[in-house]
Subunit: 364 residues, 2 copies
DNA sequence: TTCAATTTGTTCGTATGTATC
DNA sequence: GGATACATACGAACAAATTGA
């Protein structure tokens, strides 16, 4: 009686148990097919079917003419090279090469391998890419959230990551509703610092361009608002322009809209160097002198800030250091799930030529 | 006759081709096992083996009592979660972000995901990283060879890739002894072009600094030699300095060695912008004016060429275009194993300030 | 609901080819 | 070269699930 399971599964389980109990260690040779057939009173074909099952699970490896060997190490850590999944929005441009370089350096040094994927800041890609990583099996995840400023449809996916006990660290941003650690710059401070820099330079009517689909945008905006209020300056909703990832070209392609929004402003805080770069280009093309007529400050201190027609004063993003910290923290988290992996970098301003001090003001 | 492949693989390929040509669409039912056995004059067991192969690749799904169905969508976007492994020497710097950006763009667009890893040009890392990728299961590989200028100890690994039928494309270089396709710039032409540029500028005694552990170094050197001989100029072995990955800092830290080697030369061809960048720095620090006393030309046209104290005239590397081509070719190779995936890009010179024409010469 | 045909799943037996040691 | 081990291939039978009459 008994049974239920087919014979080949019975045998597969018997072998697996031998491996997991370490009775058969990594690299050891299994009994031959004919041998096991005799042992269990089953045909060689049935034995082969059992072996196939475990081959697919990468627990066994057959070598013609030699034998079948255990290719799985029940001991965690040793033979199997742990893999960390890394998901960012973009890759080969802007601040991302530096971030990835930081992550990669640490992971390689510690003997981990890395699986990289990209979302282009689209939620459907995020879901696809995370599923694929879970399928392949990763031992930890470093993720730059997609559209963290909007309700996240992949919440279930994130919950299933947590449930499976796979450590996760967000970089650059995080979903405010998910209680998961993040490594980022202090975006609130960054927005505040940028705004205060303009205020110290004597500017009073200061506009802003912010991204609303990333949570960094919300924080940088909050910092901007906070600095304005702290300085006793009024806020004018008309001077704040919001955009989303998909609006990018539409913004820079509509100079009138921009001019209208910045009317009366002597300076503007930009969400990042990308939008600032385009803003400068559009304004100059429309005969606006920078920084003479409008001062521009932005955030991230990327290569864009350097190669802009008017080099941009920009709040520094930690880039490679952030990547390194994220990698270190995910590794610590693997060893100690109670570790608090959140870290925020304090920003500083890198001065270039896009901000003009207003002479009419003699600030302290 | 013909054959080579076992019958079950022949059948598997026949079915796969039907799916990829969309003759059999997603969700459609395959012929029954007995039917195909009759069609091809093979036994049902052999048919089952073919189906198992495609089941493992997630292209088919069998349901007992019902039939076998296509579970793979050749149409981009939907079901296919194929993964391409990408292995380069470095990541976040030099020409690599652009190459990776090119690869990633194509793979993402076609609905593939990507696993990235890095070797730091060390053979032990190469073997580790390739093993890990094979373990995780990738459907294609794009690899920048490690130390392609030296005998490769991972040859068995490469043979096992070929044996498993996993398509592979090398980028940037290749192992001359392995008959596998590569996508790269034409390094011989690049070396020749750089040298001819100096010759046309009137230089006669031209030194060279080349890397010997990468095969690119051999080819660029051959191009240099070829140009010199073609122009009827003698070659002086003393004026050629060879280095390896690990020598890098040692070279730039030893100004005397360099000066001695370049004695009598009015110009030098550098293996790439990295070494040229350091060379310029060292020479200037030692009171040598560039390009007044020595002209420098290099290869790769990277950001280093731009930010060098003396902006470098450099032979352009296709970077992103190379990445795109490599990605396209690996995808074609997956569908058609007979495709010739080798491609070489013809180089051009990008002029900057590091080469001085010799007035004494009135070349044509 | 039942039944019969179809389809895949499991198991056995046998034979030959080919790689390894 | 010979023994051993896995790889491929054929044939046959029955079990279990699905489908449609």
């Amino acid at each position: 009686m008994s049974s239920e399971l087919p014979k080949y599964m019975e045998l597969a389980n018997w072998i697996r148990q031998k491996i997991e109990s370490k009775e058969l260690g990594y690299g050891e040779k299994l009994y031959s097919e004919n041998e096991m057939g005799r042992m269990f009173g089953i045909s060689r074909q049935t034995v082969r079917q059992a072996i196939r099952v475990l081959e697919q699970k990468k627990m066994l490896e057959s070598r013609q003419g030699s034998g079948t060997y255990v290719s799985y190490d029940a001991e965690p850590g040793k033979a199997s090279f742990l893999t960390i999944g890394v998901i960012t929005t973009y890759v080969g441009s802007y601040i991302f090469p530096n971030i990835i370089k930081g992550i990669e350096g640490v992971l390689t040094e510690k003997g981990y391998s890395m699986q990289l994927a990209f979302t282009h800041n689209k939620v459907e890609n995020e879901s696809r890419v995370i599923s694929s990583m879970l399928e392949k099996g990763v031992d930890g995840l470093i993720i730059e959230p997609t559209k963290s400023g909007l309700p996240n449809p992949n919440r279930e996916l994130y919950e299933s990551i947590a449930q499976r006990g796979i450590p996760l660290v967000f970089i650059n941003s995080y979903y405010p509703l998910l209680p998961l650690p993040h490594v980022s710059m202090n975006d609130f401070e960054a927005g505040m610092l940028a705004t205060e820099y303009l205020i110290r330079a004597g500017h009073k009517r200061i506009g802003g361009i912010f991204k609303f689909d990333d949570y960094q945008g919300h924080l940088r905006y909050s910092g901007y608002i906070n600095a304005m209020l702290k300085a006793g300056l009024g806020i004018c909703d008309e001077n704040v322009l919001w955009y989303a990832t998909e609006d990018f070209s539409y913004i820079s392609g509509d100079p009138n809209r921009i001019s209208k929004r910045l009317e009366g402003c002597s300076a503007v805080v930009c969400y990042n160097d990308m939008i600032a770069f385009d803003l400068v280009h559009v304004l100059k093309n429309n005969g606006v002198a920078i920084p003479e007529q409008i001062s521009v400050i932005s955030i991230d201190n990327s290569d864009r800030a350097d190669i802009c027609e008017v080099p941009l004063t920009s709040v520094d993003h930690p880039k490679e250091a952030l990547g390194k910290t994220a990698a270190h923290n995910i590794l610590t988290l693997i060893q100690n799930p109670d570790f608090d992996a959140t870290a925020e970098f304090d920003p500083t301003v890198v001065e270039r030529l896009s901000v003009k001090p207003l002479e009419s003001i003699f600030a302290d």
